[in-house]
Symmetry: C2
Subunit: 562 residues, 2 copies
């Protein structure tokens, strides 16, 4: 592509409304442009990258024998009501009415329609297994879209669905997809970890996530420093190695604790460590208020809490609700005499003589024991922390942050049962079909690659997804020899199958170098003053220094590098 004849732009200034490196660089390099909250245009330069990501995914899907199709995004709301997911998605689904007042939603994921599609293939067990996929636009009305293309409201997803007659078949289909996913992310140049995760609103038997390791990742990837255990923080079990304390249970004692509201302040007041306290957190769970009791140094794991209570939505109670329930200022909640459901973390069950809020402003109670209040449920509802014990080997857990770029689910028969997808077995008996579901977010992959591959000058695309492989920079558009040599190289490299960006704009060389660095083309060839000696500068974007190459050997050098 010749820049002088093309649509091309970059921005000098950082984007004001992008909090992530990838978001900022993708905007500045002219790859994307925000149109509304969490909705972007993929501009021509960015579209070239997105297409490469898409092609990698399509190739790997086709290699497994999966068959591509295309579902609508406009789906009757009743489809999700039938599967029981309308409520689970709640306001994350965009909902609308058509001109005849019929209720529709924009599909956030397509398990239901694929189950309907699969029913066309007949019911004989002989017609299994198979795998259907699409590369299609999804809609999710996120509460807080952010980080450029990482959390958006409209995005392209490759979603595949496997159909089998039994769990053994599902496992085979699952592993095919699992391996295809590894091939996809390897080819994209992503540094990623695979972790076990919560099955969430999807339901099912197993969920694994492909997490691209990034500081801004919204998921915490838990790994073991000893074994190959890895898991999403949200489902990692807290291994409680403490013993039940054998100290004698003392009598409760109300203590005035002015100005001490946070655990740290209260600990300082009592001169004890945080794990002598039990904190009482009041949440609203599907509309009901619930108190969670946790050791002072722990945080509530909302995923575990939702699963335990079989609920869809959880949020911290509003301040005025807390004050109404505890009849005290915020910061003094405690289990003694509290009139709402209490869920106690199982670590708390081993504690004795702990300190809690008194449900009375400026007061705490010390020497509280289990007999002093009634917990409705006792379970593991705490988040693991770095340094906790590995559930597999007992060594220590370490944390990194990840962006979920792909996920794989063993769904089992959940959707087949709700959508009525059955097969006839060899004995002519009806059984529900066993499904798997497999997703990759394409824009998110693009963003994760950008997040992992950049420096202070801009993006550094891996060769597999770069918008162009080679940039040809003409230093002076007044120099006919440079222009002629560039035109010849452009033809030769293009003929050899390379995608070449010819920077033949009437701009200063500094502007051109900056732009090519910002856009992140892997290989830059500069035709400048040394052309008189038959030399051009050859520079790889991911190497610090360039070097001179004889004009006649440039093509070979490029071939060597790709």
């Amino acid at each position: 592509m010749k820049l002088s004849e093309s649509f091309f732009y970059t921005l000098r200034e950082n984007a004001k409304d992008e909090e992530s490196t990838s978001g900022n660089l993708l905007v500045r390099s002219g790859m994307i442009k925000k149109t509304s909250n969490g909705v972007y245009m993929i501009m021509p330069m960015g579209h070239r990258v997105l297409k490469k990501v898409e092609n990698i995914v399509r190739e790997e899907m086709d290699r497994t024998g999966a068959q591509e199709l295309l579902m609508p995004a406009l789906i009757l709301e009743e489809v999700y009501e039938k599967s029981g997911r309308r409520e689970a998605f709640g306001s994350n689904m965009f909902a609308l009415k058509d001109r005849y007042q019929k209720n529709y939603v924009l599909g956030p994921t397509h398990e239901e329609l694929f189950a309907v599609a699969a029913s066309m293939n007949g019911a004989s067990y002989k017609s299994f297994p198979y795998n259907l996929y699409q590369i299609q636009t999804k809609y999710r009305d996120e509460t807080r879209p952010r980080y450029g293309l990482i959390r958006v409201r409209e995005f392209i997803m490759k979603d595949a669905y496997s159909f089998d007659t039994d769990l053994e078949g599902l496992h085979t289909s699952y592993m095919k997809m699992f391996n295809a996913y590894k091939a996809c992310f390897d080819r994209m140049g992503l540094n990623y970890k695979i972790v076990k995760a919560d099955t969430g609103a999807m339901g099912g038997l197993l969920s694994e996530e492909f997490q691209a390791i990034c500081e801004i990742g919204e998921d915490t990837v838990v790994q073991c420093e000893g074994c190959d255990f890895s898991s999403n923080l949200e489902i990692t079990e807290v291994i409680d190695t403490s013993e039940v304390s054998d100290e004698a249970e003392l009598a409760m004692n109300e203590v005035e604790t002015p100005h001490a509201k946070t655990i740290d302040e209260v600990a300082a007041f009592f001169n004890k460590t945080a794990d002598s306290f039990v904190k009482t957190l009041i949440y609203k769970v599907d509309g009901e208020f619930v108190a969670f009791l946790l050791k002072g140094n722990r945080e509530l794991n909302e995923t575990k809490a939702l699963k335990l209570l079989q609920a869809n939505e959880i949020e911290l109670a509003a301040f005025d609700d807390v004050e109404r329930i505890t009849k005290a200022a915020v910061g003094f909640a405690g289990p003694v005499g509290l009139g709402i459901k209490i869920v106690m973390d199982r670590e708390v069950a081993k504690m004795k003589n702990f300190i809690v809020g008194a449900n009375k402003t400026n007061y705490h109670i010390e020497n509280v024991n289990l007999k002093d209040f009634k917990a409705d449920l006792v379970a593991d509802v705490a988040c693991v922390q770095a340094g906790d014990v590995c559930p597999c080997c007992g060594k220590k857990l370490v944390f990194t942050k990840g962006i979920e770029v792909g996920n794989t689910f063993k769904l089992g028969t959940k959707y087949a049962q709700t959508m009525g997808l059955n097969y006839l077995d060899a004995n002519n008996k009806l059984n529900p079909v066993v499904m798997g579901s497999y997703g990759i977010g394409l824009e998110r992959c693009m963003a994760a690659i950008a997040e992992q591959h950049n420096d202070e000058h801009g993006l550094i695309w891996p060769k597999s997804v770069a918008p162009f492989q080679v940039a040809l920079v003409i230093v002076s558009m007044k120099d006919e020899a440079q222009k002629k040599a560039a035109a010849e190289l452009y033809e030769q490299l293009s003929a050899a199958g390379f995608e070449v960006l010819l920077d033949d704009r009437d701009e200063r060389p500094g502007v051109k170098f900056k732009d090519m660095d910002l856009v992140g083309i892997p290989c830059r060839i500069t035709l400048g003053r040394k052309l008189g000696e038959g030399l051009v500068e050859f520079k790889m974007r991911d190497e610090a220094e360039g070097f001179d190459v004889e004009l006649s050997k440039v093509i070979d050098e490029v071939k060597n590098r790709f």
Copy 2:
């Protein structure tokens, strides 16, 4: 693809809810499946066709130097308010609110956002011309979706937009697209006509449509039997060759005409031809009632009427409105003493002593003349009819029906002006950018091809868009020699670059032949009894008879045919 290992189905019965041949055959051949009114799944077999159509379009766009990008479908409503099109689209746009009650629409076409995108490229006249396109999903809440994929509510469109500094540049850009469109439709094997059309809600200077000729087409393509004039019915001018009558104007005379309401009945009563009558049609135009006067043998052209009155919506007035306005039963409306706006077709202006309704049940008035009532406007608002005079050469017009598969617009500066897209000319003066807009509906192309290429056995895909080029049918899956030969042919043909469908199902040969005919694979090779003599049957889908070919010469025969 081996059918024994794939998702594949066909339906024996005609689809109950498909009124078109293409809709029925696409459903029956397992290419599409309806999910709701005007919304379809594109199933795997259909997706292969759709991808070929898409690839043809993308190749032809890329060949012109147009650059691909991708816009969202979820667009702030205010974007279309800014351009003034929100009202024009009306309830044809799907509208929704996000979780924060912000108003969005699903984009029906993207002139506005492309104008925004183009503004990124800087304002110098030197950065022009360029052309941007996308292949993206559009949403239109049609009143009456119908004919399978021909009129749907969610569909993929290739929409391209050209950006120039002047009309001369626009014409060059326009012709590039125009020629690319011809290449697209030629490659798809479509029989089509190019006609001038109304610019409608798009606005602009010129609109041309690519009409695939089909009986079920919703557009009337007007052509001349003498010259190469062609036009959409909706804009074709009625050439009035009649002279002003020189007969004396007689006095009006009210006549009782019991049981005569329609023009035919009244004509019979008066024993005159329809062109002695003037019919009075009452319409509601953007909420206001308007009477249109037309020669008895003419129909109102609603497009001309809308344009004349600069209105968005037109519909026949309801019966009770007509009765209230005329103070008579429906069928007796006339211009004399009518209290609403009157638009008179210019043919009527030359008539004398004509017959009209009396605005009185069971009465007409004869000998009416222009002096007897007041027309507010006189204009060409009638539809041309077959046999009318060609506006170019005076020969006769003939009609065919067409499906609009593509359109091209010279938009001019309309969108640049409303969206603020300007450029700086050589004198540093700001001017609005000159745009063109070019659309192709991909599913509609697929449907139009199916509508033109079929017979009583099913679809007959042109080679360029067929889901597979070759079907290999094994007559008996119990015959090892047949299976072995088929497996070898499958490998050889695949290696030679052909897409091969191997029908290795355990089904009767009749079922297999029927399925391959229904799906419409261009070339079928059958391995049956004659394999012992080294022969296979070779049959092209679009030829009546097959013939035997030596096994060793099959690959050459296939190559010859493609």
